[in-house]
């Protein structure tokens, strides 16, 4: 490995690295909020909400992330809204990931035995009380492992920002590769920066998963 590529281009590498972290955190926050809303839609008994939630999840889980990002980046301008590559990319990332998060949350809630809900309801707890005090605390344990996987995917997927000039790590990697002509070393350092984020996350999620499993 030739470290001069890294030392001489520290600034673009770091700028991309920080933008990737920033896009991932914004994407995580957005997809979590959207995911919770869609999951709640799907477990209510209101038909239109259930249909909307199911349609949303099935639609976004079966199309490529890049297509969602293009809808925001290339599609919105024809409706008079122009977004930067970073904004369109992050928004696309949040909407796409929210479908997976909604499914994880729904599966977690449904895994809590129905008898517990019935017991809570017949003890006089309201629907919201049952959710907050009985169902959700147990569901969270089941939901955390798949959620942490989704976050790792989100960090990796944020590289699509480079396709819409979103100034992320991959984008600056391309810039450095074009300027230095040292493609191999540049891409190896880009890989290293991604691993700095994803490897600790993978390790942490595995430890967490084992810890949660032991409490059962």
């Amino acid at each position: 490995m030739d470290f001069t590529v890294l030392t001489e281009n520290m600034e673009p590498f770091l700028r991309g690295f920080l933008n990737t972290i920033w896009a991932s955190l914004l994407g995580l926050a957005g997809s979590f909020v959207l995911g919770v809303i869609i999951a709640v839609f799907r477990i209510t008994r209101l038909r239109p909400l259930v249909w909307f939630g199911t349609g949303y999840v099935e639609f976004f889980r079966n199309i490529p992330l890049l297509l969602v990002v293009f809808l925001f980046y290339l599609g919105l301008p024809s409706l008079g809204v122009t977004l930067s590559g970073f904004a369109a990319g992050t928004l696309g990332l949040a909407v796409y990931t929210s479908a997976f998060i909604a499914e994880a949350i729904r599966a977690g809630i449904l895994a809590v035995p129905a008898g517990q809900t019935e017991a809570a309801r017949s003890s006089g707890l309201g629907y919201v009380q049952t959710m907050v005090h009985v169902v959700l605390p147990q569901a969270i344990k089941l939901v955390i492992p798949p959620l942490s996987n989704q976050f790792i995917n989100l960090v990796k997927n944020s590289s699509v920002l480079s396709i819409v000039a979103g100034f992320d790590l991959m984008y600056y990697g391309d810039v450095v590769a074009t300027e230095t002509f040292d493609t191999i070393n540049t891409y190896l350092f880009v890989a290293m920066f991604y691993l700095i984020i994803t490897l600790p996350l993978s390790y942490g999620s595995r430890v967490l998963e084992r810890k949660l499993a032991r409490h059962d």
């Binding site: 409706l79 699509v160 396709i163 891409y187």
Partner: protein
């Protein structure tokens, strides 16, 4: 928005050309990554000395890197190592390497899910290690692998869209060229692409459900 213009015969044929490329690249990559993924999964399950730990590190690294980086590496960095691949070759190589890591984890997980007692029983009944794998572990493990394998294949099909970054003439790439003619085509063309991806993936998941039922 110009639906009539976007759905003209010439553009539809161009999109179908892209779909054909998407399906071709996805199918070749599915076959290759499934083959290598099974081999790696079985070697890791069998704890072959030296080979298993080396593969474990390789799988861990690949799983934690963005696929887009691997695609760009295959196209633009491999030539410096003496391996010149065109867009098709680079896309297939990258998708195969990345998905084989994912699939090997599915295979390993499926094999590990067979209770150890069954293996001990088979071994003490006089079956060899290979016989135990062939007659006891694989038949049960494979059935459990079908759903996660199919969702991995669906991911692969969606991920072929990332090869638009190396100008592979697949569906998203051709869509982008049409949108280049006029921004008024963006939303109609992207929606049509979404429908196409959705149908292909939906058919895939229907097939998997049939396969699962057949195996039970």
């Amino acid at each position: 928005m110009d639906f009539a213009g976007a759905y003209s015969g010439e553009f539809l044929v161009f999109l179908l050309d892209g779909l054909w490329m998407t399906l071709k690249i996805a199918l070749i990559s599915i076959v290759l990554s499934f083959t290598f993924g099974c081999l790696i999964g079985i070697v890791r399950y069998a704890r072959v000395p030296v080979l298993s730990p080396v593969l474990a590190v390789l799988v861990e690294l690949l799983r934690n890197l963005p696929l887009l980086l691997i695609i760009l590496f295959s196209r633009f960095a491999l030539p410096d190592l003496g391996l010149q691949l065109g867009p098709e070759g680079a896309a297939i190589a990258a998708l195969t390497v990345f998905e084989m890591a994912m699939i090997s984890e599915v295979v390993r997980g499926g094999l590990n899910s067979i209770p150890k007692g069954q293996i001990e029983a088979a071994r003490s009944s006089g079956l060899s290690g290979v016989q135990t794998l062939r007659h006891i572990v694989l038949p049960q493990g494979l059935r459990r692998m079908v759903p996660p394998l199919v969702s991995q294949f669906i991911s692969l099909l969606k991920d072929t869209s990332l090869a638009t970054a190396i100008a592979l003439a697949e569906l998203m790439h051709n869509a982008q060229i049409i949108i280049g003619h006029s921004y008024n085509y963006a939303i109609p063309v992207l929606l049509l692409c979404a429908v196409i991806y959705f149908i292909v993936n939906y058919v895939l998941s229907l097939l998997s459900r049939r396969l699962e039922n057949k195996m039970v």
